[in-house]
């Protein structure tokens, strides 16, 4: 029994070494995913996740992946792994910021605050 458990643990540890980085890294992410909008009227916003965070020197995931309760944002609560749309529905509701507004406020708000990064529509929603 113990042998079997150890074996399972070993397999889990090895697979975590191999697949773990792929599961947690956003290296392949080039755009903000917009499928959830159904028929979006603009191209997906350009967003190379890792390159962006390196350039912006963001190490704490909660800077973007924040939590919140009762319509109040909680920057201490890290929510990476939870889809944005779970708390920010496509159609906003009282106490719930709509997904589009959440994205715009998150990205443009930070860029205006830091006086760096794209702010005009066409800088992120680049036509192909």
């Amino acid at each position: 029994m113990l042998k079997k458990s150890l074996m399972l643990l070993a397999v889990a540890a090895v697979s975590l070494c191999f697949f773990g980085p792929a599961a947690f890294s956003q290296e392949d992410m080039k755009n903000v995913p917009n499928e959830v909008f159904g028929a979006p009227r603009r191209p997906a916003a350009v967003f190379p996740h890792d390159a962006h965070n390196e350039k912006a020197q963001i190490e704490d995931c909660a800077v973007c992946h924040h939590g919140g309760k009762d319509g109040k944002m909680d920057k201490e609560d890290m929510t990476a792994g939870t889809a944005c749309v779970e708390c920010h529905p496509v159609a906003g509701a009282p106490g719930q910021t709509s997904l589009m507004r959440a994205f715009h406020k998150q990205c443009v708000g930070c860029h205006l605050e830091r006086k760096a990064g794209p702010v005009a529509c066409g800088q992120c929603h680049v036509n192909k």
């Binding site: 009227r41 406020k105 443009v108 205006l112 702010v119 005009a120 529509c121 066409g122 800088q123």
Partner: protein, 219 residues
Amino acid sequence: MNQLYDLAVGPLTWLAIGVFVIGSLYRLAAMYAMAKKKDGPYLTYMSWRFSLRSIMHWITPFGSLGWKENPALTIVTFIFHICLILVPIFLMSHIVLWDQFKGISYPALPDGAADLMSVAVILACLYFIWRRVSDPTVKFVTSCQDWTVLILVLLTFCTGFLSYHQIGSSLVMTTLHILCGEAMLIAIPFTRLSHMIFGLFTRAYIGSEFGNVRKARDW
């Protein structure tokens, strides 16, 4: 450039809206006081019926003799004004900014329609420019201010069109577009663009005088 954009979408927007609203109210009040002083009796013959009758005739294409005189100008004028008013209010990119900064959202025009309507405004501006240059009568009454406001409208729609189609630097074009739009708002109370605030009152005044005093039509 980010700072200029920040200034344009932030403080300058409120400055422009403030000047437009307060300036317009001031011009309306000043005009009312002047009319009362110079032509006091008009208050006795102002009438809703004759006012609305005049407005309805002049708001209808070819509804007045004036509109029948030059059909091309009439058509361009109507298309120009309808697009000029609808596009800025119902453009999706504008509503998105209201949503982003104020959480206000309402239905938008389809992109293709808004694009066509913007082109219509640009073409209408070119027609007005050509008319001011080529028609001796119009040329005679054209002042520097007429050119300023016409160019301002043309620039606002051209930069908007280029921003939408992502021609040139998006940041530069969008910032220029916002600044032009704000200049246009500020210009409304103090230039010939003030016909936006006075237009209906002018018709009401003339309509009432023709209807009640001259017993004649004013269309």
